[in-house]
């Protein structure tokens, strides 16, 4: 029960099927990585699980600690414990980071209750320090005018403050220089815990130099075609994806 369990999931967008009988189980305490070429369904997986309206679930199931998340609204999935770090974080003009995260935390409390402001800011500042985010960012509008690296760090900050049970990081490493990559990886490593499952979606192996996953999965044409440990990622880095395609072709 203590797992994010995806079984035979079929997802389409505009009647084009993207995920095909996709199955994956992430128990709490583990870090999984999904790698794959562009257009194989990596981001679709993240958004479909989060409940994005553009994606149609044709069949299959997805449960989180036994709860059916496909039946939930976007905000319900979030409050049930799933956090998605966006590949392209959205700008919210006029809403400060501090107010945004506070609203997110308040949404988890009974209506009308408010988190303790002093404790909140103490924690916020300490997390920001860890992620190398300047304090003046608390009053800046969410993602507005941020550099790519600032946006991604801000996603990790939100994740750290919300403390979800399961995290999906959708190409969080893209657009980051090596210093930013290290900081983001440190932030993720800090979140590793027996009580939390993490899924890292990435295009490149280099993030995995800093986040060592328990499992690496290769996704192609909407499903996982090969799984292994960190060495699989290194092999992909060295040889590309073609040899895996050939392997599949050979088994058919």
């Amino acid at each position: 029960m203590n797992e994010l369990n995806i079984e035979s999931l079929n997802v389409s967008i505009d009647e084009k099927q993207i995920l095909k009988n996709f199955s994956l189980t992430i128990p709490k305490g583990e870090v999984h990585t999904i790698m794959g070429p562009n257009g194989t369904g990596k981001s679709t997986l993240a958004k479909a699980l989060a409940g994005h309206g553009d994606y149609t679930i044709d069949s299959g199931s997805a449960t989180m600690d036994g709860e059916d998340i496909l039946a939930m609204e976007v905000d319900e999935v979030s409050r049930a414990g799933l956090f998605l770090a966006f590949q392209y974080p959205i700008e919210i003009p006029g809403v400060s980071i501090a107010n945004f995260i506070r609203a997110a935390l308040n949404s988890r409390l009974p209506k009308g209750e408010d988190i303790d402001a002093v404790a909140y800011y103490t924690e916020l500042y300490s997390e920001m320090e860890r992620l190398g985010i300047d304090r003046k960012f608390t009053s800046r509008s969410v993602n507005e005018g941020f550099s790519g690296g600032e946006k991604k760090r801000c996603e990790i900050l939100q994740m750290a403050m919300i403390k979800p049970k399961y995290c999906i990081l959708d190409e969080t490493d893209s657009g980051l220089d090596i210093d930013a990559l290290k900081i983001v990886a440190d932030g993720v490593n800090h979140m590793r815990s027996e009580d939390r499952g993490i899924l890292v979606i990435t295009h490149y192996q280099r993030l995995l130099n800093y986040i060592v996953p328990d499992y690496v999965h290769i996704i192609m044409e909407g499903r996982i075609v090969k799984s292994g440990d960190k060495s699989l990622a290194l092999e992909v880095e060295e040889r590309g994806y073609d040899w895996i395609k050939e392997e599949i072709a050979a088994t058919v």
Binding site: A50, H52, G53, E73, V74, D75, V77, S78, R79, F83, L84, F86, P89, I90, E91, I92, P93, G94, V95, N99, F100, I101, A103, A104, L105, S107, R108, S141, Q158, I162
Partner: protein
């Protein structure tokens, strides 16, 4: 948080009415008799009677401005309203002396509480007349006058007659003429030279009766170097029939004076709110209108400043929220009439559902002036595809030594923003509300604290009601 509830803008909170027996009732419909009745009841001087009757003629002769304005104005049936209703003419100086039914209304709206908390003076108008009017003693000692319009014209003609109807002439528009014919209530305020009133003066306008028209008249004069902040709030119960609110507000800021006028209008959705507001700023004076329009069926209101003296400054900060079935037709006028005058207009509108918002601006800087500056920003936010927004900024700037800056934008709360906010745990209403509050945030930051808190609360409620 004693200052939190400056004006209660919870729409349901104002939606009640107690049965009230009126001592004075001008009956239904508008004629010379109506006007004579009002002026008799008030025991006014002959010049006021003549002023009213002349205004009635002008009102009758002027067509409705439907060639540029909404056709909804034609749905106003002037023969169906009651133009004057009151229990008596003398406002009480203590809440204990206010008749029980009226007192119950204002207590329910929280007015006495706010007065104790942070106001320098309060006038509470119930239908046509103020039921309560009081100002802190130290202000009286400094020579501040804060009375109703009837009292102001009767007891202090030497101060008020000079400016009465001068900033906004009777014939300015059909509704200013209507107000001039049947005005009752409102505030007449005079701040002597150099007196800076630190806490706000507040008026609260309450419509209680059905088929009623409220026509308050306000004139505020800040003498040289004086400063004052005036706030007004308004509510009415929701009736099936229409209610008319048509005020005239004139401000006069003499040399170096500052007037800040704050409105949070939360009329019920059967109210036609057709108001004329204008200020006259002399040398180095400053007039600032903060105008928030949340309620009503139709609001047409364009607060203005005539920048008459060198170095005068005018500002309009306006927020309009048009929900289903509402039309907020608002804007600003800045008439530059001296060198080195500056004006600033920031207007933000939010249209929700079938709501419609219109911005109309007029900025006039004639050729012979030098060193004048205007900045106009109007931003509209649309919440869904049925919403509508129009912008009509008329900016006339002549002469080489004047500058003008104009920016306008229309944006939508998009589905990706809502998805992002909801992925962090906010429900759809909360997500909308946060996005809308973000849209007006830079403007609201300039408002007094008690207003920004209340505005946010109202928007939260509106947005939660707007999603299915």
């Amino acid at each position: 948080m004693s200052t939190e509830a400056a004006i209660d803008i919870d729409r349901e909170k104002g939606n009640f009415s107690y049965d009230t027996d009126y001592e004075y009732d001008a009956g239904v419909g508008l004629s010379k008799d109506t006007v004579n009745y009002i002026t008799d009841v008030k025991g006014e001087d002959d010049w006021v009677r003549a002023f009213r009757l002349k205004a009635l003629e002008i009102f009758n002769s002027k067509p409705l401005p439907t060639h540029w304005a909404t056709k909804d104005l034609e749905n106003i049936d002037f023969d169906k309203f009651r133009y004057y209703l009151s229990k008596g003419q003398q406002p009480s100086r203590t809440w204990d002396d206010v008749p029980d039914d009226i007192k119950a209304t204002f207590e329910r709206l929280g007015i006495p509480e706010q007065e104790r908390a942070f106001l320098a003076g309060v006038e509470a108008q119930f239908d046509s007349e103020a039921a309560y009017s009081r100002m802190k003693d130290e202000l009286s000692k400094e020579g501040v006058i804060f009375v109703g319009s009837t009292e102001g014209l009767k007891d202090h003609p030497e101060i008020f007659r000079k400016y009465f109807g001068k900033v906004i002439p009777t014939g300015d528009n059909k509704f200013s003429a209507l107000n001039s014919a049947v005005f009752s209530g409102g505030s007449f305020i005079y701040i002597p030279p150099g007196v800076k009133v630190k806490q706000p003066l507040q008026a609260y306008f309450r419509i209680n009766a059905e088929n009623f028209g409220q026509f308050e008249r306000t004139l505020i004069i800040a003498d040289e170097g004086a400063e004052v902040t005036y706030m007004e709030g308004c509510t009415a119960p929701k009736f099936e029939t229409t209610t008319l609110h048509s005020a005239v507000v004139e401000l006069v800021a003499l040399k170096g004076a500052k007037i800040q006028y704050i409105t949070v209008q939360n009329w019920s959705s059967n109210v036609f709110n057709l108001v004329t507001k204008r200020g006259l700023a002399e040398e180095d004076a400053e007039i600032k209108w903060i105008d928030c329009n949340i309620g009503s069926r139709l609001t047409m209101k364009y607060p203005g400043v005539i920048l008459k003296g060198r170095g005068a400054r005018g500002e309009v900060l306006s927020i309009a929220l048009a929900g289903d079935g509402q039309h907020q037709d608002t804007g600003a006028k800045m008439i530059h009439a001296a060198d080195d005058t500056t004006s600033n207009i920031i207007a933000k509108s939010i249209s929700v559902g079938e709501g419609r918002s219109t911005y109309r601006g007029q900025v006039h800087i004639p050729k012979h002036l030098k060193g004048c500056r205007n900045n106009t920003e109007c931003d509209a936010l649309l919440i869904n595809t049925n919403s509508r927004t129009d912008t009509y900024p008329a900016i006339t700037v002549r002469g080489d030594d004047n500058s003008v800056q104009h920016e306008a934008s229309v944006s939508k709360v998009n589905a990706e923003q809502i998805f992002y906010l909801m992925q962090r745990g906010l429900n759809e209403g909360e997500a909308m509300s946060l996005a809308v509050n973000g849209f007006i945030n830079d403007l609201v930051k300039q408002f007094p604290m008690e207003y920004s808190v209340e505005l946010k609360r109202l928007i939260d409620m509106e947005m939660e009601g707007s999603v299915g």
